[in-house]
Symmetry: C2
């Protein structure tokens, strides 16, 4: 009985923290809430990131953020008070650009104005694929029609979606995310999009590769049950959900995805992890 | 051999025309092409409608048009030269209003400005469902967010979609139709919309009821392979596709829906039908 008890404690949350070598954090809804201007840091999260950095755990940030270039985005986070650098942050756009180059594709972009500079060096003439990101206000009827017409005019239409989130939370309420418009274009053109970003296993694996760690050595903390927690678990990582950001109580009764742990916020998660490790 | 040959001719197109008692026509893409202003009649279609009206066949018009009230829409068609009256035209909005009353539902509307007067007498306070129509330019990010927030805030979200078309053709090109935004909201809220309009069997049946005819006595002519032809066939009617409107050559090689006949335009279809009937 005793052995079993210890085995379970070690395998589960927060017992698993003892054997961890790295942590991946989602950004929006975990570190900060977005909204007008730069958003606001979630209480305790600046200190929590600092504690993780001072620990012996490797730390990366994995985000489906596509409203700004990596540089601008990281500058915003630093301004909010977070100790974070560009090389630690993994968003979908650079991953998508790598795929474009690999396959000789020229995109038509339906993305946020803030993301456009990321694609400056990419050939966009005579497009043979469409990339949809979280374009927010750019998701006008006219712009969606334009992307649709490019796709329907291609002999072999290829659609990349930078993430597949349903919605996220800004300070003035829930907002529709890129996945909703991905589904719209999928239906319009009778095709299946290729998702670049969470929960794509290829995307998570690129972060693990950068850390030089195996999935079971890493814990993902996010506010999105399906894309953060479910996606990480699908790759063999542990997944913990925070009750901030887009979290909804109904997540804790989801029929197919169960988080390894659910915590009030990042600060609590980090205290539990470091507590288990004897810090 | 000879018997077989005749039997096949009678069952198929245009042989089936001999036993018909009624014809249902789609409007946009069959009678006229929409676009700026009132659109333009498709050559031969005004005369074709006239010929059908002078025949012994019953005639109804079944449309997923939701950009205007029935009265305004019919007035537009009459101005284009068509002999058509309000009582012959079956669009989704009146059918949806009947459902609302039956189930005590109060809608939040995401529809075209032109359709709003149709809902004048409907209680829209404190909405407990969402109706999405072909809102065209009203499909802004803000408006889609608003409909999403109503749905996600309901304990039992109910979404009605006035049709489920993917796109239609206007004079300046293909335009995204209501089905695309229905799919977007379905994904955002993890629900299934109830479709009012073609290809809903309930909707086709209401037209058959009005004609007092059985499905095998009626032929549907449309430009939309899935919603007109497939929908009608699913109800037991024959379905003929015209090569006007949103028709694309690829429709003739569709994996699951095969039209009973494909004709260049309505004029040709009507001449073939009336020719078989010895007119």
């Amino acid at each position: 009985m005793r052995t079993n008890h210890f085995a379970m404690a070690d395998a589960g949350w927060p017992g698993c923290a003892k054997s961890l070598k790295g942590v991946i954090l989602d950004l929006c809804g975990v570190l900060y809430d977005s909204g007008e201007g730069d958003g606001v840091a979630i209480p305790g999260s600046i200190e929590a990131v600092k504690k993780l950095k001072e620990s012996d755990l490797q730390l990366r940030f994995c985000t489906n953020e596509t409203q700004a270039t990596r540089e601008k985005f990281v500058a915003k986070l630093r301004k909010l008070g977070f100790d974070i650098s560009v090389s630690e942050v993994f968003p979908p756009a650079p991953a998508a650009i790598a795929v474009l180059k690999e396959r000789g594709l020229r995109p038509h972009l339906l993305v946020h104005d803030g993301l456009l500079p990321e694609f400056d060096s990419v050939d966009k003439t005579n497009p043979n694929c469409v990339i949809v990101g979280d374009a927010a206000e750019n998701f006008s009827y006219q712009n969606l029609n334009e992307a649709f017409r490019v796709l329907i005019g291609l002999e072999k239409p290829v659609l990349f979606s930078l993430g597949q989130g349903r919605y996220y939370k800004e300070m003035d309420g829930l907002k529709l995310d890129v996945g909703v418009y991905m589904k719209a274009l999928e239906y319009a053109c009778d095709l299946k999009a290729e998702v670049v970003g969470k929960p794509s296993p290829t995307f998570f694996q690129s972060v693990l590769n950068d850390m030089g760690l195996k999935p079971h050595e890493v814990l993902m903390i996010g506010d999105d049950l399906l894309n953060d927690v479910g996606g990480a678990q699908h790759c063999g990582m542990k997944g913990v959900q925070v009750r901030t950001g887009k979290y909804r109580p109904i997540d804790e009764r989801h029929p197919t995805v169960t988080a390894d742990g659910t915590v009030d916020n990042l600060a609590q998660a980090v205290d539990m992890i470091l507590g288990q490790r004897g810090h």
